[in-house]
Symmetry: C2
Subunit: 282 residues, 2 copies
């Protein structure tokens, strides 16, 4: 009886968080708020005493109430600090609304959010209203579509493209491949910047290395950067900054007020890479 | 039966890792290599498929075979990069030998290692010989004593002092208090630097804030810095750099070859602090 209770408390995470079940994070599930199976993935919302509400896709933490700002601020603000005039923005993925929220802090003209799974959006609007409120902003254009297919068909062009994908398994697999980034070129204005999440700094070095190799063939500037994310595997995350014209260390504006993690010193610091990663990137 | 097995696999960590049992890391215990109760603490060595050997004190991860370098390199090398002439070094704690190993990469004259618990040293020599080999170096002077008491009694003086304590509970409690840092002043040569671990960047902000307040009253330069440590709570750790004469950003030498994490860019980057921490430090 006691034993059963323990195991239930650690599910649903323990079995699938990380690529190996020999190590992981556990969260005590105080309440299971939602659990559904969309055509693309399993979507769960749990409540945890310390982290508040936690959104899981296929058993992997996407965002938590308590620490969402690390990931969302670090995906969004570096590109905004250096782009000369960011007006039209595209998010591939990002149905929870966290990336959108950070973008809308700036006086942009439009933000397209292209999410494959409408049920992620519904769940976020219901359980994470503070995160998803930007979906109602007049500048936001919501598109329910496969991001890879959508960029092939659109004639819109963008100043910054964010790839806020889940891991390279399930519906996000193609968002980690060369073709996707290659096709994105036709959607880019002059000076455009792409920023994408690229996985755990500690557990996904092979994926980072692979992405670096094909991105360097496609773009002039390819810079990886890092940030803590307490509830992601290994506690540190990697991102890639990609551009043909815009260098990531030529800062052109200050970030908005009210950020919890990011500032210009953090911007510069995030691009300093540890030896073990530099060796992989060559 | 299955349920029992699961729980055993997640112990001994799940109950005590972090300050709250509502979230934590789990490690599958492939083998329990050693478990003893010293006069000061419970000492365990487990083997895990991914992280290799893991040393635990009172149930908290101190070091793992796979990721020890993050913590040890980041505690040791920043002070060495900026001190004008580091010759005589003191480590308070550090019985596993990891900090000593990093120090001995430099041509120092002497290293005193003052560890309260001789059984930590014995366990490290037996199960972590690659980490503890510096204990046999002719430059090393091993002292089994309470660090707080030892610095009050010694007439030796040091260029760099490392405080490689465990958390502010159990035998390390006094190593986190004002008196300890105040008394240390009598052991410091001109230009001396103190570097100390100061806990989780995410979970121990109150402790960091408290330490900052009393350190600023004692020393001219008090700079916190950070690093990823995948197996520590929250995945990011904090350290404090303290000195009356030596500024942490005036780099005077290159680090030794062969480091896995640290380099001069990382040095500068580590001192960039997130907004939530800057607000706490005032």
């Amino acid at each position: 009886m006691t034993a059963d209770k323990k195991i239930r408390e650690h599910s649903p995470l323990e079995e699938r968080e990380y690529h190996t079940s020999s190590v992981g994070l556990f969260f005590k599930v105080d309440r299971l708020l939602s659990k559904k199976e969309s055509p693309y993935q399993k979507i769960e919302v749990i409540e945890n005493e310390y982290f508040g509400r936690i959104l899981l896709l296929d058993g992997l933490v996407q965002t938590t109430e308590k620490d969402e700002y690390f990931y969302h601020e670090m995906l969004v603000h570096p590109a905004f600090l250096v782009h000369p005039e960011p007006r039209d923005i595209l998010i591939i993925g990002g149905g929870d609304g966290g990336v959108l929220k950070e973008i809308l802090r700036y006086p942009v003209r439009s933000v397209h959010l292209v999410e494959i799974d409408s049920q992620v959006i519904e769940v976020s609007q219901k359980y994470f209203p503070w995160l998803s409120s930007g979906l109602k902003d007049r500048r936001t254009e919501l598109v329910i579509a496969d991001g890879r297919e959508w960029i092939e068909g659109t004639d819109r062009k963008f100043d910054i493209v964010y790839v806020d994908s889940s891991d390279p398994v399930g519906p996000s697999t193609t968002l980690h491949q060369k073709d996707f980034f290659q096709n994105m070129k036709q959607c880019l204005n002059k000076d455009a910047v792409i920023a994408a999440q690229t996985g755990s700094l500690f557990y996904q070095l092979e994926e980072i290395q692979k992405k670096n190799e094909f991105l360097k063939k496609l773009f002039k500037h390819v810079f990886f950067y890092t940030s803590p994310v307490p509830t992601y595997p290994g506690g540190s995350w990697s991102f890639v900054y990609v551009s043909d014209e815009t260098h990531p260390l030529q800062i052109k504006r200050n970030p908005p007020e009210g950020l919890k993690y990011f500032n210009p010193d953090i911007h510069r610091a995030a691009f300093a890479l540890p030896n073990f990663l530099k060796e992989k990137l060559g």
